[in-house]
Symmetry: D2
Subunit: 371 residues, 4 copies
């Protein structure tokens, strides 16, 4: 089975009970195990960046939470390679990260020949079900930023954060507590000043932005797919429409076409962003600030388009499935709930401002946790 078949198989399995699992809102232990068994967790190393992105989108179309987890898994592995050789991974390891820029930093103190990390971070997507974590912290003393890898089950790590959210319910996006967690020097990926971050390392934030856009596209496509099945198999022609079936309704047909056009155009923009970030990463230490800025704008453009498409699509498709499709058992609202939640990751208005300022005055996006 090649990776496209594997991702389609995973998607099919997730689609089958996505509504029930969304309602239950449990930790995605079984889902991560499904990814593990599928072999998809190794895809970045075996088939590369573009394949990993494609798989994340396909899985997100079936279950946006799990697509989000898979995308971030790839992203965490990928970003370890920004510091040097990618961090070693074992078959079956699921990776997650701890780096919410809006929280106070974790502190990392040298103790003997190693380090000890303390603090609390929120919104650590996937960490509670992960094998390995990529973590950002601040060195006591120098105030430098550091990034390291740690076993997700290491002593001193705990996951008290309950994640009970209106959307992306299966992403285990609760908090992580570090209490005297020991980190070996060999697991430190790099140390760098906070400002300016070297262009190469600053690509990590762009990777998150891109992967969010990837999930948005998946969400739009997934909502369209699920709605189409319902329109074909369950929806009734409207009593005043004069047509024989919902699938003959002119408004429904054109409605699908408009949303597909918007969503697919966003998908092409995200494809271009995947290529741009891949190319920027390959530039290595030669990457200039200007190239970094151009890359950032391609990604931000895609993210805006994908965000608008996901919100519009996941809300509008109900007009093609009708009143009875709002029955609780279908949970079709999960597409909008997921899209609405995830598109708030950071405000789209400021992404638009960033793109506009670059266009109007050539202003480069200031590297940050979000740009």
């Amino acid at each position: 089975m090649n990776w496209r078949e594997s991702s389609e198989k995973v998607a099919t399995a997730l689609r089958a009970d996505a509504a029930e699992r969304d309602r239950a809102g449990a930790l995605p232990v079984a889902e991560v195990e499904l990814l593990r068994q599928s072999g998809l967790l190794e895809l970045l190393s075996t088939d590369g960046w573009a394949a990993a992105n494609e798989a994340a989108r396909a899985v997100a179309a079936a279950d946006a939470s799990i697509g989000h987890l898979l995308g971030y898994h790839y992203l965490q592995q990928w970003r370890t390679g920004l510091f040097g050789p990618p961090a070693p991974s074992e078959p079956g390891w699921f990776w997650a990260g701890v780096s919410n820029p809006l929280d106070a930093d974790l502190t990392m103190a040298p103790v003997g020949d190693a380090f000890v990390v303390d603090g609390f971070k929120t919104f650590a997507t996937g960490a509670a079900v992960a094998d390995r974590l990529v973590v950002s912290a601040t060195l006591t003393g120098t105030g430098e930023k550091t990034t390291f890898v740690v076993d997700a089950h290491a002593p001193g790590l705990s996951y008290p954060g309950e994640w009970d959210n209106m959307g992306q319910r299966l992403t285990a996006s609760g908090g992580v507590r570090f209490e005297g967690v020991r980190v070996e020097p060999a697991d430190v990926l790099g140390v760098h000043p906070d400002d300016p971050v070297p262009p190469r390392l600053s690509l990590a934030a762009l990777g998150f932005q891109l992967m969010l856009a990837q999930v948005y596209v998946g969400l739009g496509l997934g909502a369209l797919d699920a709605a189409a099945v319902y329109t074909r198999d369950h929806a009734r022609a409207w009593t005043l429409s004069g047509v024989a079936s919902a699938a003959d309704d002119p408004y429904i047909l054109a409605g699908y076409g408009e949303l597909l056009a918007m969503t697919r155009a966003a998908g092409y923009a995200v494809d271009a962003a995947v290529a741009a970030l891949g190319a920027a990463e390959e530039r290595g230490d030669d990457l200039t600030a200007e190239e970094r800025a151009e890359t950032a704008i391609v990604i931000s453009t895609a993210k805006i388009a994908a965000s608008r498409a996901a919100i519009e699509t996941t809300s509008k498709v109900f007009e093609f499935t009708g009143a009875r499709s709002t029955a609780g058992k279908y949970s079709f609202d999960r597409f909008w709930r997921n899209a609405r939640t995830l598109t708030l990751h950071d405000p789209i208005s400021y992404k638009a401002r960033e793109v506009g300022d670059h266009f109007l005055r050539g202003t480069p996006p200031v590297p940050s946790g979000y740009s």
Copy 2:
């Protein structure tokens, strides 16, 4: 306490635990009791049509399910007056109806000096918690349409329909079964041919359309109100915004303004529809088909505007409250879930077609259960 104060008091009480009650999704027994105690159930007879509409909107802003129930309660009382003197009501009686046009008709058979009604209807909003029902059926033999009033607890009536929906969860919109339910001649409001329905009686369908629009406006206003509280009290200024608080953010301020403009404009359109339907009802038997058509168009216009405003507003406000406002405890998604559910009552595209055809060619809307 005047009725405006009463409706505000009810709204305040409902707002306080709307999120919890939405999650629980129980039958709205306590909520109907709250309406009963408030005196609002008598508002149509004491203060008239415009006041009843205003109260329904205000309650819907706090809890769209209960606003929906209250609006339909008034509507059912009001429509009994289309047949002659309004059906007598007792203080504290809560009214609902049974008339989903998409189901097979209930049958009403003359038996002795009375009638017996049999059948099953879905989507009987509020019936399971009502005191009195206004019911549509078809007379065996003649095939004429008939409308009657019945005690909601009469022998032979049962409410098996579970209502578990993504939105409008507290409207008790499950089904109603009639098994040999006895109806006295004195409780029959009227009998009329199915086609053409006399213009005066055909106003009933317009009343439903109007009351839906009323709830849509309430939903938009309610979402804006709830979001504003959060923006003021909880939202953080975006880290890259350069402003001190979320309430200073230029995008958030203008965003509220745009949605308010859209929602308030829809509200004015609905006000005009309330006046138009009131005037048509007062025309009584003099109401012409052309006047009826003009009235229908004013209502349909308002419904389209209100529907678009509710969907846009309830989804967009999250951009003014931010990522943390998606926490499950707030249930802010209920506004969109309610709006999305209720705006599917009948397809808005066909309302638009109806308005367009009247404008372009003077085509009168064909009286039906939805127009």
Copy 3:
């Protein structure tokens, strides 16, 4: 002939050659004469504020430039009444104003027992074809603001400004030069500090905002009317549509319905704004700052809704008339050109911000030339 018939007659006459006159772009001398002959110029004094607004909207639907001129004519007369008794007018006098807040002020210097005014102002809509002007200036010495009336043909007045614009081409919105223009004390309406402007006098700026919104609604309705004639009489059914005529096309029918809903809802909002401003004016010196703020918000809300509706409608209607309706002879683009031009009077984003800030924090709009 009552005023509604008169305004309909004027509208019909203007509609007949609106395309040709738009292309020619001449000074609207004949058009003002048409208004003069119709008796509509006296409407504010004979039938009041609401009638004047309705007539301006009706004329704007036929020719937005002339509706704009008529609305501003009423507005100038109306604002003289904010200072005391309305300035006396003669039958047939056409009023305009000179007060662009973005230009340097005209200076008004006491000379003997009168005043002399000097300076240049741009965007003096209608002044070049007016009989009487209402003018704002600054008193030399005190720096106080003053408002006066002057004969539009008084010595020292000239209208060098060519007005050649993409839209509102017949509004004579060029500049006015004052060179030693003598103003009698009896023609001075009032003198007041620049900051704070007394609430009553500050209503003038709201009147402009309202009248702009009135023209926007007229533009939307006018575009729909013109398009409907074309769809009915000239448009072909699309070759792949399977319907017999363009007026049977489902997308065209629903398209009209959507735009009508948006435009009519905006119209109702503007109606409410007319009533609000009328009520505020009647409060006279008792008008509080808070009442003034509430009035301003009702008007701004209406203006946002009307602006969005006009832009959307005047651009979208072409999808209901088709490729051949873009022939130059029809000049159907004038609706959008007019709407796009006039909706830029002052930025709609700052109106939205104003409404949002009032909603969120109760911030009253700061009285200015635009709010």
Copy 4:
């Protein structure tokens, strides 16, 4: 100078006086000569399909009429290659076509050893200024469709059609009259049944659809470029904005970003369509109906996205340039006039329907002059 430099040079030259030339609305004789001198007319044969598309987009951004002419020139050359080897061309030849599917067909009658063509066709973009024409006709007798090449100055050809349109004014899109025009057998590209058209030949209609989308994207980009120059160099900060320059205005910055995201996403979709059509053409006679359908959908999707982006962008940019940018001398309205005109080529609602029907039920677009 490579072709990118050439197309940029042409774009710069066209941009310099685009407003004046738009107003004059003359036959684009000088503009075609400019293309001729630039060497761009040979681009399809020297650098291929993708380069030709990119050049057409770049020129369309500067002047949508001339970009349209250039795109159709490439398209006509390209479509001759669907019948066999591409028709021979000479350096400097400008190609156009005559094939409006909505007119009655031209008739082609065998006379002696050649053919004689008669009839009249409208909307023959570029024909009046062309060197060679690709023409569709119907063979008398068999009723078969035929396509041939003819010298645009051949005896019997005349161009009476005045083209005076609100947009795309420089495309010479008037009519062409054929009166006994002689066509040699060697100039006949092919003869085929009308139904079914062989898949390969049916790609011609898709080429037109794609090239229209290409111009739409160019229009959006061109409007943004022109507006940005004005915002930077001429626009004033709004008086109530509190910022120092228009280019600091948060609404203007984010506004540009939103439109760029929409327009660039559409551009990526069109890029994908260019690749898809190129691949389909390379399949030659092996092209299956299913592959043809997939190709059509990729193109239709891109066309919908590009159409929506062009209409929205060309209208909205005025909010970033302000009231004074509506002065006639700038002719900034030409972007919207061009976009509005060209996006009506065939109704976008039916494109949306086509995409929706393919998605929902796998319905292949029926090959026609528009699909």
